[in-house]
């Protein structure tokens, strides 16, 4: 299952539980009775501890899955990405000026071998953009910001061959929605 659906299901389950609790309490607001302060206090303590434990567990489970690369694995390929209103230029050579960006954004799609670790070095030549890598089927796989003055390094290993679109994930002006880039993942043996 894609991580988006996992998150959606987690959200739905907790939301349904919370809503059910609210509903139950809201149905039991009549019939005035004084509450036992000690029982309330005990329950409150348990609730606070449960919430804390859940949060700590969630932290412990998710912090190791940071998307920022770490470790000694050497990428098989570097792809340079320069964003500029309103296209992404992707190239195997560094993109340092407008002419190179134009050539990269209009030229043939960069080819990447499947199942190999690829490093995208992402920057922007003007405003903030978001480098969002989508699968050929339209699922957002990963992203990093394309920021003027910085090079962000996103490492990905893509299994399935196909044309991968790149969409802009940060409002960058009037053609933000049509800003895109593309690269092609090819079977590794053809590389």
């Amino acid at each position: 299952m894609i991580p988006q659906y996992k998150a959606l299901f987690a959200f739905l389950i907790i939301t349904i539980a919370a809503t059910a609790t609210f509903h139950w309490v809201m149905r039991n607001t009549g019939n005035r009775k004084p509450l036992n302060p000690e029982a309330v206090s005990k329950l409150r303590g348990r609730f606070a501890i449960t919430c804390t434990l859940l949060l700590v567990a969630a932290l412990a489970l998710t912090l190791p899955h940071f998307p920022y690369p770490r470790g000694s694995e050497i990428p098989d390929k570097v792809v340079f990405v320069a964003a500029k209103q309103f296209a992404f230029g992707l190239s195997e050579a560094p993109i340092a000026n407008d002419a190179q960006w134009e050539a990269a954004s209009q030229g043939p799609a960069v080819r990447i071998p499947a199942n190999r670790l690829v490093e995208f070095r992402v920057t922007s030549l003007d405003v903030n953009h978001g480098f969002g890598v989508y699968s050929p089927g339209g699922t957002l796989l990963a992203q990093t910001q394309a920021m003027p003055g910085y090079v962000n390094r996103l490492r990905l290993r893509l299994r399935n061959p196909g044309r991968y679109p790149v969409l802009c994930m940060e409002l960058c002006g009037m053609e933000h929605h049509s800003m895109r880039g593309v690269f092609e993942v090819i079977p590794a043996d053809k590389d």
């Binding site: 470790g71 050497i74 570097v78 340092a96 003055g149 910085y150 090079v151 962000n152 390094r153």
Partner: protein, 260 residues
């Protein structure tokens, strides 16, 4: 690859986005063009040891390669000396590493290389390997890493850049180009070899008030002036609260309610 890119590699390699970057034939090689490429496994002839393929040298630990010629009157010896000094100063990664000084001049013999080793005081160092290789092999290595050398008949010298290649498991992880190497820049190269990684680095430009500065010596970030601006709003807010509430006012000075 970590990043004294901020200082070193950016200045030389990835040209600043705000400027020029056409590659001229006399420029040192651009690291970005060769990054992570495979290094050809050529055979070399080390001083005092049997011939070996490069893979024999990088199999168990990272390998730093620099290419020189012994009759050099230019950059070779100053560069080698700075490298030698830097290796003594920079912290050694746990896995250790080897340094290969390879001659690209076909006239150089093994004994020329031996003399060069003694010349910079590395003759007895096990981790420093001085070697020669077949002319064709040297060409292959140079082509794969962007290194170049041309005979200048007038000066009777080779024209060439000074380059340090950092190789791990046969792949080029860093390429350092420049007249001399400092302990700090070597430290950043070694950290890359050791698996350190900085997910982002700033481009060299005249930006004011950065939030963080990458510190190649420690491999960590330090706060820069911009970070001060980041804590300013919170600080001003707390000061405003203090000035409003004036906790130093004597007790009983508060208005009772309803206030007069």
């Amino acid at each position: 690859m970590t990043s004294a890119r901020i200082a070193a590699c950016l200045a030389a390699g990835l040209a600043s986005l705000w400027g020029q970057s056409e590659v001229s034939p006399n420029q040192p090689p651009n690291e970005d063009l060769y990054l992570y490429h495979s290094v050809p496994d050529i055979a070399v002839q080390p001083v005092g040891k049997p011939a070996t393929p490069l893979s024999g040298l990088w199999r168990d630990r990272p390998l730093l390669i620099t290419m020189v010629f012994t009759r050099c009157a230019g950059v070779c010896y100053p560069f080698l000396r700075s490298l030698r000094a830097a290796t003594e100063l920079a912290a050694k990664p746990p896995s250790g590493y080897r340094v290969l000084v390879l001659s690209f001049d076909s006239r150089d013999t093994v004994s020329d290389m031996k003399a060069a080793a003694s010349g910079i005081g590395a003759g007895a160092d096990e981790d420093w390997i001085f070697a020669t290789a077949a002319e064709e092999s040297v060409r292959r290595l140079a082509e794969a890493t962007g290194f170049w050398f041309r005979w200048d008949g007038e000066k009777r010298q080779f024209d060439h850049p000074a380059v340090l290649l950092a190789v791990k498991n046969g792949r080029l992880v860093r390429l350092f180009a420049g007249g001399r190497i400092t302990a700090e820049s070597l430290g950043s190269v070694l950290r890359d070899l050791d698996g350190g990684f900085v997910p982002s680095y700033p481009l060299a430009d005249k930006t004011s008030f950065r939030c963080f500065q990458y510190n190649a010596a420690t491999g960590g970030y330090s706060l820069d002036w911009g970070a001060l601006l980041l804590v300013l709003p919170g600080t001003i807010a707390f000061l405003a609260a203090l000035l409003t509430f004036r906790p130093w006012r004597r007790r009983g000075a508060r208005a009772p309610f309803p206030a007069a």
